[in-house]
Each structure stands twice: as structure tokens, then as C-alpha cells.
């Protein structure tokens, strides 16, 4: 594959040589750039651990910790011809393997089929499951220290290996953009000390985006079909339920399976951006065929207003999932009681019902760098534990404050 891409690139470079003679394109053909965040954060409790999203196996407590938000990304850009570009990006951040091992986050060829109306990209692509989801790591590009955790924290993946096609056209006073993408999720999601493999999970999606004046609107649909099941303790529980040979228990075990089930993601986003004022809102609905996860609604609203070098901001976000009330149909007596307890425990860990108030400020104190300070007041039900790795219902009272400081830069 790589070989093929390289030779294709080389061929097109030669081919394009003559056609470009009359048009002078001064832009550099090759560019190295990067971005990063040095961030520290702490909460006011050790009862549950705070994470940025589901790709982080361990969270932080009431001691300053740099793992949640610190990262560094490097990008190489190569323009082979006026219509063919190559981009590779690697990011080192605290991820699924409980370390900062670097990972290729983007690696694609971008081909303009028709100037800028129709663009095809193939390779590894950031997943634009929701508006802005493909730039979650580029802290310098947004106001807050991190994307709202109630909203983006539910996700356990960042890219697909596949292709996307974007069509752009002016309509009315604005510009309409339609994008379709297809590929495979190929990441690992940490579950305790184990992983849920997303390798080979087919993903499809599309969005329509309209920008006019100070407004931008977007509607997105995406879906992913699982090709692997969850590791223990869920796998163990399923095996226990099957072993009873009782149809109701086996049916429950079946309904908890992930393999060959599809999860669907619907979202709406709107941005109002006028000079110093920025307002951004998003809503999402996630529906899982498998009963191991709960259908979830989430949303957020961020508003910021620039005053000189400072941009104070305020945000509100929430996520709420709907309990499934799974039952094994087994009586609560030995030897079945532990299975029922296990089933309850598993269900308890996937529930979320919380909202967060955020206050903070971004300070553009020098070129290409910004300092941000932020406090999140998370107010949830004691059962809202899905966003905290390994936590069980009632482990805390649902309230948590998170204090964060971050230095974002680009180079």
C-alpha cells in the first residue's frame, strides 16, 4: 500500500511538471509543523478518576497530574502537484496503553478531483463523527482546555482507516459542504487492564454543513459495527449466563454481545462566530443495538468573548443515558445470585447522568501560544460513573470540581 502510494505520488509529480509551467505556485512543497499542550489538572476527590475521553485507561484525582491533557503532535505535509497532497501526523499523548507512546493519527493522500469542489482523501483520517471531533488534540485551535468531556469523553476512537469524499458548492449567500466517509476503526479501547478491540470495525458516515455569514450549521450521521466482544469481566459474566442453560439467561447474554451489532451516532452542531464573540452548540444522540451500552444523549454550549488578549469563556454540557434494566430471569439464590449481582454491576458501570458548568479564560499572551485556566463543576447523580474508569455506582456523590491549566502552542 505504502509502496503504491509513493510510486503514484512520484508518477504524478513527473506528470504534472509540464502543466504547471504557466501558473506560478509559490507555496513550499514540503512543510513540517506541529502542535502541543502542556497541561496540568486535578480534581477535588480521589473517589473516582477523571479522564479526558474513553481512550485513557487511568484518570486523575486530587493531585496535580499532567497526563490528562499534555500531548505533542508533529505533521509532515507534502504537495506533489496542485491537486495531490500528502499529510502524515503523529501524536504522543496519554492513551490506551497507559503510556505516551506515539501513534500515527493521520496519514493520507488528498486528491482534488475538481479544483476545490470535489476532494477525495484516502488513508488514515481523523474521525469527524461530530463537528470539530477531528481536531480534538489541537488545543491551540479552541477556547477551552479540552473538548467538553460530557460530550466527547464518551468516545473511544479518533480515526478511521478508509476514505472520504467532500463536495463543496456555493448556495445562496453561503457555502454548502457535503462529506461522506467509509472505513474501519482500528483502535483499542482500554477496559480495566484489558482492551476492547475496534480493529476492523466498519464505519460509515456523512454530514451536511452550511456556512453563511456568521453562522455554521452541521448535521452528521455515522455508524460503527463491532467485530469483537468485550473482555472480562463482561465476557466472564456472559459465559456464566450461558452456562446456566436457562433460555432467559442465555438471551440476556446474547443481548450483551457486541459482535455484529451497530452503534449509530446522530448529531447537530451550530456555531455563531462574530468578531470577538463565539458561541458553539452541539447535540448528539447515540443508539447502540447491543444492550451492554446505554443509549445516550449529550450536548454542550460554549460561549466566549475576546477582550484584548484575553478570551473569557463559559460552558454548559451534559450527558444522560437511558437505563436498560436487563434481567437474567434467574432467581436470586445460589448459584445464580452472583450472576445477578454481576449483571447489575456491569449495567451500573455504563450509566451516565451529569451536567457540567465550566468557567475559564484563554490568554493569547504571545504569538502561536496560549495559556488557559479553567474550572469545571461536574454535578451528576451518584450513579453517573460511565465517564470514570473502573467506577461503580454510589462510589461518589456525583459532584466533582476539576481545576486545569494548559499551555497550548503551534509551531
Amino acid at each position: 500500500m505504502r509502496c503504491w502510494l509513493l510510486s503514484a505520488c512520484f508518477g504524478l509529480t513527473l506528470f504534472s511538471g509540464s502543466g504547471m509551467a504557466e501558473m506560478e505556485t509559490p507555496e513550499s512543497r514540503f512543510e513540517l509543523s506541529g502542535f502541543g499542550t502542556l497541561g496540568v489538572a486535578q480534581t477535588d476527590t480521589n473517589k473516582v478518576r477523571f479522564i479526558r475521553d474513553q481512550t485513557q485507561p487511568e484518570g486523575i484525582g486530587n493531585k496535580l497530574d499532567a497526563r490528562t491533557d499534555s500531548l505533542i503532535g508533529l505533521q509532515a505535509y507534502f504537495r506533489a502537484t496542485d491537486s495531490l497532497e500528502f499529510v502524515t501526523q503523529a501524536i504522543s499523548r496519554y492513551g490506551p496503553h497507559d503510556d505516551f507512546r506515539p501513534e500515527i493519527s493521520w496519514a493520507f493522500a488528498k486528491y482534488a478531483i475538481n479544483s476545490n469542489n470535489l476532494v477525495l482523501r484516502g488513508g488514515r483520517l481523523g474521525m469527524e463523527l461530530y463537528m470539530l471531533a477531528d481536531s480534538r488534540h489541537v488545543g491551540y485551535s479552541y477556547l477551552t482546555v479540552r473538548p467538553p468531556v460530557d460530550f466527547f469523553g464518551l468516545l473511544a476512537f479518533h480515526y478511521i482507516d478508509g476514505a472520504d469524499l467532500v463536495g463543496t458548492m456555493p448556495i445562496g449567500e453561503g457555502v454548502l459542504k457535503i462529506k461522506g466517509f467509509a472505513g474501519q476503526a482500528n483502535e483499542l479501547a482500554p477496559i480495566g487492564n484489558d482492551f476492547l478491540s475496534l480493529r476492523g470495525n466498519p464505519m460509515y458516515g456523512m454530514y451536511a454543513d452550511y456556512q453563511e455569514g456568521h453562522w455554521q450549521w452541521r448535521a452528521t450521521y455515522a455508524q460503527m459495527t463491532f467485530k469483537h466482544d468485550l473482555p472480562p469481566p463482561i465476557a466472564t459474566l456472559q459465559a456464566g449466563l450461558y452456562a446456566t442453560n436457562i433460555p432467559s439467561a442465555a438471551a440476556t447474554a446474547n443481548s450483551m454481545a457486541l459482535t455484529d451489532t451497530t452503534s449509530r451516532f446522530y448529531s447537530l452542531g451550530a456555531v455563531y462566530d462574530k468578531g470577538p464573540l463565539l458561541v458553539q452548540a452541539m447535540l448528539s444522540q447515540v443508539e447502540h443495538e447491543s444492550h451492554i451500552y446505554e443509549n445516550t444523549q449529550a450536548g454542550y454550549l460554549i460561549t466566549g468573548y475576546r477582550v484584548g488578549e484575553l478570551t473569557p469563556f463559559a460552558a454548559y454540557s451534559w450527558s444522560k443515558s437511558k437505563s436498560r434494566h436487563l434481567s437474567s430471569g434467574l432467581p436470586d439464590i445460589p448459584p445464580f445470585a452472583p450472576l445477578n449481582t454481576g449483571l447489575q454491576g456491569v449495567q451500573g458501570r455504563v450509566h451516565t447522568d451529569q451536567h457540567t458548568y465550566t468557567l475559564g479564560s484563554r490568554w493569547d499572551f504571545r504569538r502561536n501560544a496560549a495559556l488557559k485556566a479553567q474550572v469545571d463543576f461536574i454535578r451528576g447523580k451518584p450513579e453517573s460513573v460511565f465517564l470514570y474508569p473502573g467506577a461503580s455506582p454510589g462510589q461518589f456523590d456525583g459532584k466533582m470540581n476539576v481545576y486545569s491549566l494548559a499551555l497550548d502552542f503551534v509551531f
Binding site: E27, W106, N116, G126, S141, Y142, P276, E309, R367, A370
Partner: protein, 145 residues
């Protein structure tokens, strides 16, 4: 020493402020662009990478002045009321997510004029006093009250 440096810096900043306040920026193309006039929305779309085609159907090549130039900061303040850091944040998102690329930044006005001369789709901005017969004014900012 530090004090002197700060004073110097302040004087320079003040001088720049004065210059930007009096500059009258206009958006220009070459005579072969096929464009007589652009709306502010069209200029925004071209410079913010949303739609890079001139109304005449030519692929557009928007050109920025150097990153430090006062005209550049002034241009974006007047165009979208945004500071250079906000423009940089905007492009960081697109550049690091495989989106459109920022306009090419010229070293100086001479290079800008040369590029416009050699590329019918090129578009740039300059102070009105620097516009000569090789350039065509396609957009003027509305007079500030």
C-alpha cells in the same frame, strides 16, 4: 536597559497603530482575473478557505502579506474583526485536520504584485496608495463611521 527596550517597543507599537489607523486597504486582482467586484462575504470565503474560486470561474489564489505586517493584522480586523492569534487558531484547526490551507504569505509588496501579475486567479490586499495600473481594485472596505 529593560525600561528603554519597553519604551522603544511602545513607540514602535504606537507608530504601527498610527500607520494602520490611516492605511486604506483595498483588495486587488490582476486585470485578467475576469472579476470586477467582490462582496465582503466573497472575500471572507476566499481568505478563510471556504470557497476558493473567483466568480469568473478561475481557481482563486488568495495571498497574505507577511505575518508581521501591520496591513495583514488590519486586513483581518476589518474583514472578520479578528486578531492575528484568532486567525492562527482558525488555521491550526484546518491545517492539522487535513482541511484547506492558509493563503500563501508573501515576503513583501513587490512579490505580491509580481504574483498577481503572473497568476490570473491571484488576489491580494494593499494600501490604496500602492495600487498601480497593473492591479484592479475589486473590493473596498465600507468607510468606518
Amino acid at each position: 536597559m529593560t525600561k528603554a527596550a519597553v519604551t522603544c517597543l511602545l513607540i514602535v507599537l504606537l507608530a504601527l497603530q498610527t500607520e494602520t489607523a490611516y492605511a486604506e486597504l483595498v483588495v486587488v486582482t490582476g486585470p485578467k482575473s475576469g472579476v470586477e467586484h467582490l462582496t465582503q462575504q466573497e472575500v471572507i470565503f476566499l481568505y478563510m478557505g471556504r470557497w476558493r474560486m473567483l466568480p469568473s470561474g478561475l481557481p482563486a489564489m488568495p495571498i497574505d502579506l507577511a505575518i508581521d505586517s501591520p496591513e495583514r493584522a488590519d486586513f483581518y480586523r476589518r474583514l472578520v474583526n479578528k486578531e492575528p492569534s484568532e486567525i492562527k487558531a482558525y488555521w491550526s484547526r484546518l491545517v492539522f485536520s487535513g482541511g484547506s490551507r492558509p493563503p500563501y504569505a508573501t515576503e513583501n509588496r513587490e512579490e505580491l504584485i509580481r504574483l498577481i501579475h503572473n497568476n490570473p486567479g491571484a488576489i491580494g490586499y494593499l494600501d490604496r496608495s500602492q495600487v498601480d495600473s497593473r492591479l484592479r481594485i475589486v473590493f473596498e472596505f465600507p468607510a468606518t463611521p
